[in-house]
């Protein structure tokens, strides 16, 4: 946000704020311990708003649930912004001192009246008005989101629409006021921190624009760093399709099952001249590889660090001896480098980290012994006496503001790409369930009684209209593929909305249905909005036959 890719607040602030908005996030199931902090906040008097097409387990705790239609977030956010402006609730002092582009924003949201937003989103105008007024009037407010915002073809615009609301009200850069993307994986934040982004060096230093940073890395590494961004995953698949991409090293990811339009992903991976997969399992992706490099499990068989959603860098440690033949990721990379003509020796995780600390100013103070003693440290931590930073962008409240002002980014609503019509009348959205995780590589090995295998959740109204009984097998058809799956009634869904997870791809490969059209700015595919139809299969055999065999 405003140059630093991380959530602005600490979990403790969620406990001490006055208003919490979960927008496109079912944290109760997907970030359960973060939700403990939300529950503490509610206990301390905070009000909770949940914006989600589904009435989720999180929404059950909300003071107000805004059940918008899938993919209409920008229309809703712009209407909230317009209402705040119309009602005279803008934090004018903050907007004047700390932001740019307000006038353009005001003009852009002007057409988004409450009535028009109600028509687009399906949320009653009065509920939108209440959210707008409550958010603007709250002394402190935390706005949190997850993949319900980012797994859309206009993901980055969705995020801008939310940031605009925080700028309008001054709900950023203070204790208890912030903007928080909740990270879905234990080190997706750390990956970004370490420069696993097409255009960043470690510490979010720009590879194209920051010549000083490049020079530091060049001096440390004794090589030239081309000032040119790389490709993100969706672009890589495009490059494969165009025949411009011939070899791939995949570390710890299972795109054969996690990519949208899975059939296309498999076809393109199969077409590579050379595919190397480094993983702890022989995943479906690894089965396609020319070479598989068995790796150790990073969280319990190796040393290192990960970064959490509150920017807390924490140590992972080796607790288990890895199985015979599996090698540390770091060791594998060093050995690959050696084959490519560079002898890095046998670097330890700590040695690599200390090098990173020298090159990334925001990590400089994070010595291993400090990370250990302090239960992790939140970046930025510029020196070895620095306690870490609980919230970002406090500088926006300095007078005058130090550094660049925060820009409003006006954005326009666009409907999801996979349009509904008579042939595909139901909107399928995908997500996670509490007890399972991603493509199930990790979670099909334990046996929580909650796990029922894959099912399609339908509204009771659609079940009745289609003559589908609980547990009956149905065929789910999209413009790209079809799967067969048992159906279950979910009163949290309104008519025309369906839900599936992608945790059991060997049983039901949900991503055969999804559309691989991605946001040009983030590279994230529109997993959240697929047009489907649901056909009952006459010879229903019940869900038991489809249960995952363990």
């Amino acid at each position: 946000m405003f140059g630093a890719g991380g959530g602005t607040s600490s979990y403790r602030e969620i406990e001490e704020t006055d208003l919490i908005i979960l927008w496109g996030s079912n944290a109760r199931e997907t970030h359960p311990i973060f939700f403990h902090h939300v529950l503490k906040g509610i206990g301390n008097g905070a009000r909770l708003y949940v914006v989600d097409p589904r009435r989720t387990a999180s929404a059950e705790w909300a003071h107000l649930w805004l059940g918008l239609d899938v993919g209409t977030d920008i229309a809703l956010a712009n209407a909230v912004g317009r209402e705040i402006i119309q009602a005279g609730l803008v934090n004018e002092d903050f907007v004047r001192r700390a932001t740019t582009g307000f006038e353009r924003y005001r003009e852009a949201v002007e057409p988004y009246t409450l009535e028009r937003a109600e028509t687009i989103t399906g949320v009653p105008a009065e509920a939108i008005r209440q959210l707008a007024h409550d958010y603007a009037r709250a002394e402190r407010a935390e706005l949190c989101w997850t993949l319900g915002i980012t797994e859309h073809h206009n993901a980055v615009d969705n995020v801008f629409a939310l940031i605009n609301l925080a700028l309008l009200t001054g709900h950023v850069g203070r204790w208890g006021s912030g903007l928080n993307p909740l990270r879905g994986q234990n080190n997706v934040q750390g990956g970004g921190d370490m420069g696993a982004l097409p255009n960043k060096l470690p510490g979010f230093q720009d590879i194209e624009e920051d010549a000083n940073a490049r020079a530091r890395f060049e001096a440390a590494w004794g090589c030239r760093i081309p000032p040119r961004r790389g490709l993100h995953v969706s672009q890589m698949f495009e490059a494969m399709e165009a025949g411009r991409f011939h070899g791939l090293l995949i570390i710890g990811e299972n795109p054969a099952q996690s990519e949208a339009d899975a059939a296309r992903a498999v076809r393109l991976l199969q077409g590579l001249d050379h595919l190397v997969v480094q993983d702890i399992f022989l995943t479906r992706t690894a089965e396609l590889a020319h070479v598989v490099l068995p790796a150790t499990a990073s969280w319990c068989e190796t040393e290192g660090t990960v970064t959490s959603s509150e920017r807390r860098v924490q140590r992972v440690r080796r607790a288990l001896e890895p199985p015979p033949g599996a090698r540390d990721d770091l060791e594998i990379l060093a050995e690959l480098a050696k084959r490519l003509g560079h002898d890095w020796g046998k670097p330890t995780a700590q040695a690599v980290w200390d090098e990173c600390r020298q090159l990334s100013p925001m990590h400089r103070g994070m010595r291993y012994d400090r990370l250990e003693a302090m239960g992790g440290i939140q970046w930025p931590c510029p020196d070895e006496d620095h306690p870490g930073t609980p919230f970002l962008h406090g500088r926006l409240w300095q007078d005058p503001v130090e550094g660049p002002l925060a820009p409003f980014q006006p954005v326009e609503f666009e409907p999801p790409l996979d349009a509904l019509d008579d042939e595909f009348p139901i909107r399928l959205t995908t997500g996670r369930r509490l007890e399972s995780y991603n493509t199930g590589v990790q979670t099909t090995h334990y046996r929580p009684p909650l796990s029922k295998g894959e099912r399609i959740h339908l509204s009771p109204e659609d079940m009745a209209a289609l003559g589908i009984r609980e547990g009956m097998l149905v065929r789910v058809v999209s413009r790209r593929g079809a799967v067969v799956v048992p159906a279950t009634a979910d009163p949290g869904l309104r008519q025309g909305l369906a839900f599936m997870s992608f945790h059991f791809p060997d049983q039901v490969n949900t991503n055969q249905l999804t559309l691989d059209r991605w946001d040009p700015k983030s590279g994230t595919a529109e997993f959240k909005a697929t047009a489907i139809r649901v056909e009952p299969i006459e010879t229903a055999v019940g869900a038991e036959a489809m249960e995952v065999r363990r």
Partner: protein, 301 residues
């Protein structure tokens, strides 16, 4: 409206066993004792839970107070004179431990419980032989017990209520102190009081979401990881051979610290530190139980 402002608490001076100590206003008597270097036994108290004052093993004598007071919850007041080792205190703790030990199987409780039984001279056997099955009306010469077969109704954890002292910790962790799932409560009264799911249904039919936060706070082994239960059944559970390594959960991005308890290169249970600002000792089902995938990779495993 909650302002979230923490004002520095004023200091309060109290006397513990003749020694003056200064603690911040709002501290408990137990905390003042700890500051004075006096450790107080507790069963139902835990740092991450609200005190419920049921076990009474932490009682101390307070000058001017007619009754003994539970030190885990009683707040200090200026000038308090606290005695932790008087005959009244010792007798009370001895009785509490005897009554618990005569009716409940404490063999899987932490080693400190056996130390307290010895230190306070508890003689649970003076109430008679332990009745072999749960009953409020034992035969002559028998002590009433809560003995009953363990409930093994899922693959993740076991409930052995013959070990349950009704400390309420599991109920609090499942409820308002952490999880807000409310899958369990205390049902029945008097000797029939017991921890129960709704209508005593098996766990898979209850509201339980298998976070295991009840297991994490249980002081007596009444709630136990299935992995620990199986090892104990096989006579192979051996804490002396175990290591505990803190690391970070491999699942979502919240970043909960997991303490991996490892025996013979297998994870046998997972806990989380009570004093960490991220998890406060609590985990979800994946963090607590979702570790099997790293143990299924041995050749042929």
């Amino acid at each position: 409206m909650n302002r979230g402002v923490s004002v520095a608490a004023r200091p309060v001076t109290v006397t513990v066993d003749g020694q003056a100590v200064e603690v911040p206003e709002g501290s408990t008597v137990r905390e003042a004792c700890a500051k004075a270097g006096v450790e107080i036994p507790t069963l139902c108290f835990l740092e991450n839970l609200t005190p419920v004052n049921v076990c009474r093993v932490c009682v101390v004598e307070l000058e001017g107070s007619r009754a003994l007071v539970p030190s885990c919850s009683r707040k200090v007041e200026g000038g308090m004179v606290i005695h932790t080792d008087t005959p009244r205190v010792r007798t009370s703790r001895k009785m509490v431990l005897e009554l618990l030990a005569s009716s409940v199987d404490l063999s899987a409780a932490g080693p400190e419980v056996a130390e307290w039984l010895a230190a306070y001279g508890a003689e649970p056997e003076r109430y008679g032989r332990r009745a072999p099955a749960r009953t409020a009306r034992p035969d002559l010469g028998e002590a009433a017990t809560v003995a009953q077969p363990p409930k093994v109704d899922n693959a993740l954890y076991v409930r052995d209520y013959s070990r349950c002292i009704l400390c309420y910790k599991c109920v609090e962790a499942c409820g308002e102190d952490a999880q807000f799932t409310f899958a369990i409560a205390v049902a029945g009264r008097g000797f029939d009081a017991h921890i129960s799911t709704e209508f005593d249904v098996p766990l898979p039919d209850s509201a339980c979401v298998y976070c295991g936060n009840c297991v994490g706070v249980c002081p007596t082994g009444a709630l136990m990881f299935k992995s620990e239960f199986d090892l104990r059944q096989a006579g192979a559970w051996d804490p002396a051979r175990q290591t505990v390594t803190p690391t970070i959960c491999p699942y979502c991005g919240v970043g909960c610290t997991l303490e991996l308890h490892v025996q013979d290169n297998r994870i046998v249970k997972v806990t989380s530190p009570l004093d960490h600002t991220v998890s406060h000792g609590h985990l979800c089902v994946k963090g607590r139980f979702g570790f099997e995938f790293v143990q299924d990779r041995d050749p042929g495993g």
